[in-house]
């Protein structure tokens, strides 16, 4: 967790440096920002909406927006916060538009299991992952975001609060509610097997 936060800070400094370079006319530095952040953004979008194509579209849209916003960036907020916020907003909008549960349909591709590697443990793992995601998907919007950011992305309370535009106390409370609900929703064997 500490390592993750250290990385975050490093990424943030690098982003600021690259944004300044882009603002001074070095357009190539924009792709350095993309290179550094794209996998997190794709992963977040994918976890939120569960469809590879949608996640790719969201990631592209987020970075296109970033391309347009960077020349006017004022450094009042952290860039990664803006990226996460935009990704979540887009994913939420898309989800609302589709009005159906995505996770279940594309669940098998979440983990890279090739035919040769498949063992009983892998199948069990995949099954457990599917059930977990179904349970997370059933959570109310903000609780789902908290679980994704805090546990799946490993963000700190303050970072999550910044992204969700709420107080740290709200994040703690939402995570508490989400975990309570998850422990009630998920089959015991899914939680017990590790």
């Amino acid at each position: 967790m500490e390592k993750q936060n250290l990385n975050m800070n490093r990424v943030d400094c690098a982003d600021d440096h690259d944004i300044r370079a882009v603002q001074q006319g070095d357009q190539q530095m924009f792709y350095s920002i993309v290179q550094r952040n794209q996998s997190q953004i794709f992963r977040l979008a994918y976890r939120f909406c569960g469809q590879q194509e949608d996640a790719q579209d969201i990631t592209q849209e987020v970075f296109y927006k970033a391309y347009k916003i960077i020349p006017h960036w004022k450094f009042k907020a952290k860039f990664f916060t803006w990226l996460y916020q935009t990704t979540l907003n887009m994913a939420r909008t898309l989800r609302r538009k589709r009005k159906k549960i995505f996770f279940v349909a594309d669940m098998t591709s979440r983990i890279d299991f090739t035919a040769q590697q498949q063992t009983i443990t892998d199948i069990e793992k995949r099954e457990r992952s599917t059930q977990l995601q179904r349970a997370i998907d059933r959570l109310p919007g903000r609780q789902r975001i908290v679980v994704l950011l805090r546990i799946y992305e490993g963000l700190k309370i303050n970072q999550t609060a910044e992204i969700m535009r709420c107080r740290p106390g709200t994040v703690k409370s939402l995570l508490n509610q989400a975990l309570k609900r998850l422990s009630q929703d998920m089959p015991r064997e899914v939680v017990d097997v590790r």
Binding site: Y31, F42, Y67, L132, I151, Y152, E153, L179, V191
Partner: protein, 191 residues
């Protein structure tokens, strides 16, 4: 917020390894002392552990995501959008200025019409008179003052004994506008 809720949140933070050393020890003691809290701790430990395990398993999405391909696609998208934006900007400017262009065109046409109208009057003014005089030899004579022209033509007409004589220059024409570009009134043959 109730104490129980606060403790549960602390337990979650404890499991997530986010508590400072002092508070960590306090929660540890509380959990050991109360069987109820121990059950809560155990439940969250297993649950968070399962979620974290799943997060690790799904952290790498390389099999469905090609970073380089993404950058190429993004570059293409940016180029396309930028050129489209430039084109739409030109269209917007054209649409904005089409009214101005139309007004300018209309004004130009009107001015040209007025000019031609004036020209035609300048030329045609002496013609009825010239026809009456049956003029043959063309020449050019710029008349400085309409009244002078009228007088001299009148004298000429008298000299040549022209029976009927009408001559007028429209009053709205300025002196410099008046030119006789058709066969001159001065050269009269066989009146």
């Amino acid at each position: 917020m109730s104490d129980r809720q606060t403790t549960t949140q602390k337990i979650i933070q404890y499991v997530l390894n986010e508590l400072p050393a002092g508070e960590r020890l306090k929660i540890q003691n509380e959990v050991q002392a109360s069987p109820e809290l121990r059950a809560v701790y155990e439940r969250y430990r297993v649950l968070i552990g399962t979620l974290k395990g799943d997060a690790e398993a799904t952290a790498t999405l390389d099999h469905i995501y090609d970073e380089n391909q993404f950058i190429v696609a993004l570059q293409q998208r940016i180029e396309t959008q930028e050129s489209r934006r430039h084109y739409s900007h030109v269209l917007f400017l054209a649409r904005e200025h089409v009214f101005v262009v139309f007004i300018l065109f209309f004004t130009a046409i009107s001015l040209m019409g007025v000019w031609r109208f004036k020209q035609s009057h300048v030329v045609s003014a002496p013609i009825p008179y010239a026809q009456r005089m049956s003029l043959k030899r063309p020449s050019l004579l710029a008349i400085q003052q309409p009244s002078m022209a009228q007088d001299s033509v009148f004298q000429l007409a008298q000299h040549h004994r022209v029976p009927e004589f009408h001559f007028s220059i429209p009053s709205w024409l300025s002196v410099s506008d008046v030119r006789i570009t058709k066969p001159s009134l001065v050269d009269i043959k066989n009146p």
